[in-house]
Symmetry: C2
Subunit: 333 residues, 2 copies
């Protein structure tokens, strides 16, 4: 008899998550009912947004309830099925949660073609983070050929794809990342035109040098001081894609506010929030484009795959917030 190891949210974290915020249980392995199938989960996507899903309060999606399996995008193989559309052996992805197995009726589940990319990649650059980059940049940022596109967290799962799509669209892509190693990766491997190390202590000066014509499209993942500094470089009629504010996700006190909102006024910027789920009807076109670029070698992706299974979830999640990951973070189950 097999059990299903699960990470249940036990308490709402204050600051960084700890193991104590979760209860790890061995639930009995459930059998699929009529029209259902069971997935053996092999890879769990670890995303900054997960921190927000644990917090109380109004957001774009209800918080994970106390005692519930932690929400997560994940991928695996069907191992038992009463659903004719999903056969044993099919590779699939969906919001399966931080656990070893899930029962699904197929709603919001995608089939994955493993001849094109690995399971890990399908929940990374070709999954939610890649789609977020795609819709955020193209639908909200509206980049035009010759524009300068600035991306914070440029070595991250979303930022790395944003810059590469910007290059495909004929833009100058400039990244911001933490440390010389990440910056080197962003320029030499991902093909950005420049990358500024925010840890070097001269962010404004270095950004001015990297963006001699100013910034037309800002793709913001970080918030805080970095965001304020970027706003000072925006060109008239620029677009700001507000995708993430990761610097504040674990704040236990109110962080400093945004000081440079005046730039939105005087430069007539358009700032817009993006949540990928709003574009669900356009996913097929986006997945087709991303897959094509990937197959042509124009979209380079890197996963940082961690072992440890369900129980390692809190520690692996925290890597996102201390800069400890190197590529899209995926937890192996």
């Amino acid at each position: 008899m097999t059990v299903n190891r699960q990470a249940l949210l036990k308490s709402r974290p204050h600051g960084l998550v700890t193991t104590d915020n979760f209860e790890f249980v061995d639930a009995p392995l459930a059998e699929p009912g009529e029209g259902e199938f069971r997935v053996k989960i092999e890879a769990i996507s670890i995303d900054p947004a997960m921190r927000g899903w644990m917090a109380e309060g109004k957001s774009y999606i209800p918080p994970v309830g106390i005692g519930e399996v932690m929400r997560a995008g994940a991928a695996g193989h069907v191992e038992a099925s009463n659903n004719p559309k999903f056969k044993v052996g099919d590779a699939v992805s969906g919001m399966f949660g931080v656990q070893q197995y899930v029962i699904s009726n197929g709603a919001m589940v995608s089939k994955l073609d493993e001849s094109q990319a690995s399971l890990e990649r399908w929940i990374a650059g070709l999954g939610m983070p890649g789609l977020t980059a795609y819709f955020g940049l193209l639908n909200v940022g509206e980049p035009k050929e010759g524009d300068t596109v600035l991306v914070s967290a440029a070595s991250g799962a979303v930022g790395s794809v944003v810059g590469q799509i910007a290059k495909l669209k004929g833009c100058r892509a400039v990244g911001i990342a933490g440390g010389p190693e990440k910056c080197k990766y962003v320029v030499e491997e991902l093909g950005f035109d420049a990358c500024v190390d925010y840890k070097a202590g001269n962010l404004y000066r270095d950004l001015r040098e990297a963006c001699p014509k100013g910034v037309d499209v800002l793709f913001e993942n970080v918030g805080g001081e970095i965001f304020d500094t970027e706003l000072a470089l925006m060109n008239v009629f620029g677009r700001v894609v507000l995708c993430g504010l990761i610097s504040a996700y674990n704040a236990t006190e109110m962080p400093d506010g945004l000081n440079n909102i005046r730039s939105v006024l005087v430069n007539r910027l358009k700032m817009q929030g993006i949540i990928v789920f709003d574009f669900i009807k356009e996913y097929p076109q986006a997945i087709s484009d991303l897959g094509k670029w990937h197959a042509e070698g124009k979209l380079k992706l890197r996963e940082d795959i961690r072992d440890g299974g369900v129980d390692a979830f809190p520690d692996v999640l925290n890597l996102l917030f201390n800069g400890g990951n190197n590529g899209k973070l995926v937890l192996k189950v």
Copy 2:
């Protein structure tokens, strides 16, 4: 022989402007050259944006230079002309400056029909502030019938027009103003559905009550804490028209930053800055609409006309920042 009294910017103000920031001079009265005409200025528009025009640094328009006549929109009559398009006696408006007379070649000068409205009104609700309200609300805010439109500084020159246009478009118009008298004016005379007194000390609670369905369009003139509070009430896919940040215009230290930028992300708001000069090609349609609504009695306007001439400019300007005005502020020359 007549002289031309002028207010020249002598030094850049720190905080509120003072009389010492200006030099008041009696320049010789100039004669119009070929193609030029002379306007006797009778009414000067006093606007919050003027404070920004005195400050150094990059903005949407170069700052007024030290020693130059203070920039201002104004209206008056042509009293001498070598330009066949502008005849003696014509009523005109333009960026004439804080002075008694101006020589113009007619560029960017509008003729005014005094049978429709007074000179003062033509530089108020039917002039730049009215146009700002019109383009900000309609082009940026994109109000739909049934939307709740929230306007800060609702009794001001721009805000008062925003709410009335919102009503004309079938929206619920809610204002924010300082003190019960202004709030009463906004509701009873301008026809807003509700107006919240931010001085009463319960802004969030009072706004929730006034906007039971949340806020779809926010027209922001103030900034600071008021802006943060409004952002907490925004509906998903709401629009934020960033028109002014008057609470910060005289700040001598960095004011508190905007704390609630997260609302832009989670609610997928579109926030956009508006400067009326960007819409100059569409002015004729807007002036025609505003004039029609005014003639039909659907657009109520109130000017607060102050005497004192050119020398009173600094004191009259400061009325905008201490809430001392009651209607669109105009300085009689």
